[in-house]
């Protein structure tokens, strides 16, 4: 008796993990923070969130069909949903629908598919989308609002939400600056950090989320919980999150000690803006970060330091997106120089020297 199909070499056993399971677990880790923030910002946020993800999935389907790849099977790996989710988390919660769609086009079509699709992109798609939007529509992208929890008095109902998201009618007098934005503007007006810091929400509020910002910026604690869940599930390791936050904290703390009037403190930097989201969900993106442990540490430190530099000295108050994109461009070369040491060889690749006594 003969058996057909000897065209596959071993092994004949596989672990039960899959790309779909991994992406799904990441989405699961994002649920607590997202749900809370959608509640905080009400119907317009929910509508924007839906539009962003919907646009990402639709554009992914379109690109796949243009490339001749199987649509259903590829969409099932949830990567477009994840990109849309992260993009939505980085937009202002009451932004108009077209911002989401333009962002989706750049994130999915340009940053992902024009490089070859899943696994081939150099830059983090969600961050590319956000950066393009930020530079092209600076005003719309920095129109933050204070939280208007769902069903609370003053919060827009569903009907009003439609007009905000799709009609472009932003209600008056609802915009507020984010913490980082406030500090930066005050500094440019000559007011030192030590004074302006009094006007931003305190640490607890920033950690919990009752403040102005994008969906992903507000609740640091819930994002942290999601990140720790991912680490427990072995989806990500501690290398990148710890070094991003650590690098940022160290730089901020050192310079704050040197000149408190000019530089905000370490804890302020760590808890404001999208630091936690960036550290746990964005910088850890598999495709665009290095594959070796040493490489991840260098990558994380680079991100942390760049975030601080951009926030402090650059023209934009928030630096996570730019920092991540800059480090993405260095990821391949970091990979090349941080290859692990092969068994039986030195780190240069030569066979290990033998102990002369033995031979």
């Amino acid at each position: 008796m003969s058996i057909a199909g000897i065209n596959k070499s071993g092994p004949f056993a596989h672990a039960s993990n899959s790309v779909q399971k991994t992406m799904f677990t990441v989405l699961l880790a994002l649920v607590p923070a997202t749900a809370f923030n959608l509640y905080l910002f009400g119907w317009p946020a929910i509508l924007l969130f839906t539009v962003t993800i919907g646009a990402c999935v639709a554009i992914e389907a379109g690109c796949l069909s243009l490339a001749g790849k199987p649509i259903k099977a590829t969409l099932a790996d949830c990567s477009a949903i994840l990109t849309g989710w992260l993009l939505a988390m980085s937009l202002p919660p009451w932004a108009p629908w077209w911002l989401a769609v333009v962002g989706a086009v750049f994130a999915i079509a340009m940053a992902k598919h024009s490089f070859g699709g899943l696994g081939q992109n150099v830059f983090n798609p969600a961050m590319v989308g956000r950066t393009v939007l930020l530079i092209s529509f600076p005003v719309t992208m920095t129109t933050w609002i204070v939280p208007h929890p769902l069903f609370s008095p003053g919060a827009p109902g569903l009907f009003e939400a439609f007009s905000i998201t799709f009609g472009g009618h932003m209600p008056d007098a609802v915009s507020a600056a984010s913490a980082l934005g406030h500090i930066k503007t005050e500094l440019s007006r000559g007011i030192p950090v030590t004074e302006s810091i009094a006007h931003v929400p305190d640490l607890m509020d920033m950690a919990l989320g009752y403040r102005a910002g994008s969906l992903g910026e507000t609740s640091a604690i819930l994002i942290l919980a999601g990140g720790l869940f991912l680490m427990a599930k072995r989806i990500i390791t501690w290398h990148i999150p710890l070094t991003v936050i650590g690098g940022l904290f160290l730089m901020a703390a050192i310079f704050h000690a040197i000149d408190p009037a000019r530089f905000a403190s370490g804890t302020f930097h760590v808890f404001s803006g999208a630091t936690f989201l960036g550290a746990f969900f964005i910088a850890t993106d598999y495709v665009t970060s290095p594959v070796t442990m040493k490489g991840k540490i260098i990558f994380g430190l680079g991100c942390g330091i760049l975030i601080w530099l951009i926030r402090t000295f650059a023209g934009y108050p928030e630096g996570v997106a730019f920092a991540v994109l800059l480090m993405n461009s260095l990821a391949p070369i970091i990979d090349q120089y941080t290859r692990p040491r092969a068994f039986g060889r030195t780190s240069k690749g030569e066979p290990l020297p033998l102990d002369k006594d033995k031979s």
Binding site: S2, F12, A13, L118, G344, K358
Partner: protein, 500 residues
Amino acid sequence: MKLFPIRGGIHPDYRKEQTSEKAIVDLPMPSTLYIPLQQHIGAPAEVLVSEGDLVKKGQMIARNQGAVSASQHAPTSGRIRTVTEVTAPHPSGLPQSTIVLESDGKDEWAELLAPIADPFAADMHTINDRVAQSGIVGMGGAAFPSAIKLNLGEQKKLDTLLLNGAECEPYLTCDDRVMREFPEEIIDGARIMAHALGTARIVIGIEQNKPQAIENMTKAASAFAEIEVVGVPVQYPMGSERHLVQAITGLETPARKLTADLGIVVHNVSTARAVHHAVRFGRPLVSRVVTVSGNAIREPKNIMTPIGARIADLIEFCGGFASRPESVVNGGPMMGQPLASLEAPVVKGTSGILALTAEEINDNPTTPCIRCSSCVTICPCGLSPVDMAAHIRKDKLELAAKLGVMDCFSCGSCSFICPSHIPLVHYFNYAKGVLNDLERERNKNERVKTLAEARNIRLEKAAEAKRAALAARKTPSATTSAGNENEAKTTATTEEKVNA
């Protein structure tokens, strides 16, 4: 004893309970046995018998050719039907030269070599010669002629004999059962081998998922102070000799070198048992234990089978297939090879036959690589499968070689863990095959160039001689016609070349 961690590795679902509690059973002797001339690394054995010869069990039917070779012995008494090409137990399904033996049902032993009365007083060469004459090869699967390994004591300074009882592959329980049922034989064989090697210390490494085996071996070794039985952590690929050495001693074998260069020689536990039989009873290697398992097998068993039984015979003895297997694998699921045909015979290195269902294999269509780096974390050799596979996919094999693909020993951990189900090990097997081919081609081109140059030189010399002869003809003392001379020279030189 202090143990050391090994890098990477996986923890698959072992599924050994299907056969671990099943005592070894003897296969009823099949009517026909197929004994390949090459069941080992090295040159094939030279046939000693011909069609119609009557042989007895244990009689040498093929002799080793040279040092890196092994002999074959008749696994039972009977008549040689023929020596012909039979399908090899190899994924290519290609045939190889095989002796076909028809059993006479009597299973009579030939006159065997005399037992070595006191092996521990015997010379190292006496023992090694006995091992070589008994056709013993590494029974863990590698099938390297054991006598050569035992000779290492002459060339290198050795201090430890390490017996590999790890059996880290899922499903396989043959070594486990042998350790449980014949521990004294293994210990005796180990002590004989240690004497031949000149090592003072014997360590037996057994994975901790075999507590009964550890207990039985420890008891059998208790009388001998130089033997230590160690339970090693359950981690695939703990059975890889370099990794077992690292786990037990903390030493990393340098690339392209042997563990013997560190003073340690590794042998499988079943090989030690075979040495015991050869030295104490003069019995050559004619049978081995094979685990037949997998969900597609009706009654999984550990079978003591004669070498040369068809794989189909073993499966029939196990009740046949319970369902149609997705793959029948020779060896364990991680490093085993798919079988092209069940007509292929069991050879000295066959440790298991697995009939696996699609669910057990759990393979899915391949999706693009997401650079999750699981493969890099898990590679026990510290390589970067993600980068090597990307290069190989784009046919840049030289770049893959620079990244170390020739160091890969195809353990399969990376393919196992890949969430995109990329056939990483298949890429590396392909790359290693092509790189070896290119090396052979380069060597051939070198040779061709040398031969072509030699021919040019010869032709020039002939032309020179012709010119000289022509010049000489101008003088009256002319010699024989130059033409014939040249022709004779041409054919003569060709024959010289052939005989060289």
